[in-house]
């Protein structure tokens, strides 16, 4: 026993010594490491490198989106451009249907005016009204039902397209028509009857199967396509003037995989090219860019087609914003105008060319980057305008446009930074209808100053541009800032009288109001 005890004692002692030795060894290693680190910290080159690395990290993380706009803007509300600041009485966060219903009914009694706001990307005061109540619909964003068999989704109107994509992507489904970015609310996009890159499914309004509407009298109604009162005709593209869209049932399609096909064209080839694409090609989605660089101004285009592959996807994750910083730098270079705009156009062609042959899912085509376009400079603003021309008029229209817009805007106050072209299918649903036939929409990114004379100059140029568009049988889009005259509005939208009559019939107390209505229709 004594021998055994001795053996055990020595084993424990040996183990203890071993652990102690290991600890000392570890401490020695730690000590040496620490000593080396301290030595390193004494070297100026090391500290210099630390500064360089840290500066690079900070540079990369300086936020791109800096502006605050919309309902969070203190006592005055604005929308995306901030051009129409206005005082409102209060902002109500939409919590439930009954509350919204109560607010609308009370407004009918006490003469209060109501506007409806989503993510406020519209640019003409469509989401607020002087001394009115703003219904902030962003919290009204639940996905209510997905029917995989019927390929439909029922969703509350304050949800964004991104929310919808996240819900339907695991089911292998995708939207039929939406904008090329997913940052808008469903209610907002339907209120402007938006359009995007799809060239096969018609207008956005046509993809709505059913809608729940809070009418101007405070009733909650379920509206279908065969509704005898034609609510859809006025609510879609109705700019929030015919009540509150509470939820909609949208038709969906498969989340197809497409092959990207890119080409460079001359502007005068595009009309023929697009007609051929529409009738013969195996293309599901399409958009194009027109050069606004001085040396190729309105002469060159690049087209991007998304061709069917017969493959569908259930797994590919939704892409996040990519390459935002580089895109922002490139756009900022282009913003300088002159030779740098030529450089920017060259870079765009190279980048778009590099996409040729790659595959992408339908959902991912419908969620392009947008943050890189952020622009914050005191005294200046960047706005969008969109002009629609019939497909057959495109070539002549672009030629005539060269007489109106300067090719090199480097030293001009009014600058055109980008033009993209999208297809807008003939719309037979809405009253304020921008596509009376199949149209091409030119989405234009414009920058100008905010001094009185600078705004006046921009107004003149945009009115001239609109006049030219009307001469070619076209129209302009209404969600943007109202540079156009009332006459131009009426010429573009001959259905305006019917719209106003129906507004007075459906909303006799004029409960739903906004700055857009006040400017154009009152």
């Amino acid at each position: 026993m004594t021998v055994e005890k001795n053996i055990r004692f020595f084993s424990v002692a040996a183990l203890y010594n071993k652990i102690k030795t290991m600890k000392i060894h570890n401490m020695t290693i730690k000590g040496v490491t620490m000593q080396r680190l301290m030595e390193l910290l004494k070297k100026p080159w090391f500290l210099g490198s630390l500064v360089v690395v840290f500066v690079a990290v900070v540079l990369w993380n300086i936020p791109i989106e800096k502006r605050k706009y919309g309902l969070s803007q203190g006592s005055l509300v604005t929308d995306y451009t901030g051009l129409l600041p206005q005082r409102v009485e209060r902002i109500v966060k939409a919590e439930n249907r009954q509350d919204l219903q109560r607010i609308v009914k009370e407004a009918n009694k006490d003469g209060q005016k109501i506007s409806v706001a989503g993510l406020q990307h519209s640019q003409g005061g469509h989401t607020y009204y002087k001394d009115g109540v703003v219904l902030d619909m962003r919290t009204f964003n639940r996905i209510l039902e997905i029917d995989e068999q019927q390929k439909t989704i029922r969703v509350e109107a304050g949800a964004s397209w991104e929310d919808v994509q996240e819900a339907i992507q695991p089911h292998g489904l995708a939207l039929k028509v939406t904008q090329s970015q997913s940052i808008f609310t469903i209610g907002g996009s339907l209120s402007v009857n938006a359009h995007g890159r799809d060239i096969r499914f018609g207008s956005m309004a046509e993809t709505v199967k059913e809608m729940t509407l809070l009418t101007p009298s405070g009733e909650i109604k379920t509206i279908t396509r065969d509704d005898p009162d034609d609510w859809m005709k006025y609510v879609f593209g109705g700019y929030g003037l015919f009540g509150v869209i509470l939820d909609v049932t949208l038709e969906l399609t498969e989340n197809d995989i497409y092959t990207i096909h890119t080409e460079q064209l001359k502007t005068d080839q595009y009309e023929t090219y697009f007609n051929e694409l529409l009738t013969h090609r195996n293309t599901a989605m399409h958009y194009a860019r027109v050069s606004v660089a001085p040396s190729t101004f309105l002469d060159e285009m690049v087209v991007v087609n998304y061709d069917y592959t017969e493959k569908q996807d259930h797994k590919t994750v939704l892409k996040k914003e990519q390459g935002v910083r580089l895109s922002k730098i490139a756009l900022d270079v282009g913003r300088q105008g002159g030779a740098l705009e030529d450089l920017f156009w060259g870079t765009q062609k190279l980048y778009i060319g590099s996409l040729d042959g790659k595959e992408i899912t339908r959902n991912n085509v419908m969620r392009s980057e947008s943050t890189f376009m952020e622009y914050t400079k005191p005294g200046r603003v960047e706005v969008l305008q969109e002009f629609f021309v019939p497909i057959h008029a495109y070539g002549d229209y672009i030629n005539d446009l060269k007489q109106i817009i300067p090719s090199n805007d480097r030293s001009e106050d009014f600058k055109v930074h980008n033009i993209t072209v999208r297809y807008a299918a003939k719309d037979e649903v809405t009253t304020l209808n921008y596509a009376k036939e199949d149209m091409l929409g030119l989405v234009v990114l414009i920058q100008h100053g905010l001094k009185e004379d600078e705004i006046a100059n921009a107004t003149t140029l945009i009115q001239n541009w609109t006049r030219l568009t009307l001469e070619h049988g076209g129209t302009y889009y209404l969600p943007y800032y109202r540079y156009q005259t009332k006459k131009q509005f009426r010429d573009s939208y001959p259905g305006w009288e019917e719209f106003v009559e129906e507004k007075l019939r459906k909303d006799p107390n004029s409960v739903f109001q906004n700055m857009f209505y006040e400017h154009y229709l009152k």
Binding site: K42, L47, L59, Y375, T376, K377
Partner: protein, 176 residues
């Protein structure tokens, strides 16, 4: 230091930097957009100061420390801050190199100052002067911190110029 005026320059610079600090902070917060960026700008300054400090400490020929360039350099940075206008979009990108430059120069200056024989005396004096000055400023309404920062920048440039003039006539003292 044989010349009284040159002898007091480091004290003027040290006091000035501490006094200007609250105004500089206000300006930096305005341009930082978020607290995270504000903190990172500070970290950048701090790392650069460590670098500047070490550059002076490892310098072989400390007789030629060119402190007048350091004064002028810091002055130019502060004046530049005063001149920045209407560049909101790019301001964070401009602030970053300014923070590096300022940190580097202040670190270098601090290391140099700490090796001067007047350093400890200046330390006590600067605390007292800053205390009294801040009481004084509490009764003064500064409308724009940027103007104040730019004025301090000009003062630093003058210090640099003065030091440069005197430098030709006087030899730099060593720490005893």
């Amino acid at each position: 230091m044989n010349s009284k005026s040159v002898r007091y320059l480091p004290l003027v610079v040290t006091v000035g930097q501490v006094v200007i600090f609250p105004y500089y902070i206000i300006w930096l917060k305005q341009v930082s957009l978020t607290f995270t960026l504000f903190a990172w700008f500070f970290a950048t300054f701090s790392f650069s100061a460590a670098w500047g400090y070490r550059i002076y400490q490892t310098k072989k020929n400390k007789e030629q420390s060119y402190v007048f360039i350091i004064y002028a350099g810091m002055g130019i940075v502060y004046v530049l801050i005063g001149l920045i206008k209407n560049s909101y979009e790019y301001l964070p990108y401009i602030v970053l190199p300014l923070q590096v430059t300022l940190g580097l120069l202040q670190g270098y200056f601090r290391a140099w100052h700490s090796e001067q024989d007047t350093y400890h005396l200046h330390a006590v004096h600067h605390y007292l002067i800053v205390g009294f000055m801040m009481i004084g400023f509490s009764f003064t309404r500064i409308i724009s911190p940027v103007v104040f920062i730019a004025i301090f920048g000009l003062l630093l440039c003058l210090c640099g110029f003065w030091d440069f003039i005197r430098r030709g006539k006087l030899s730099e003292p060593k720490k005893v």
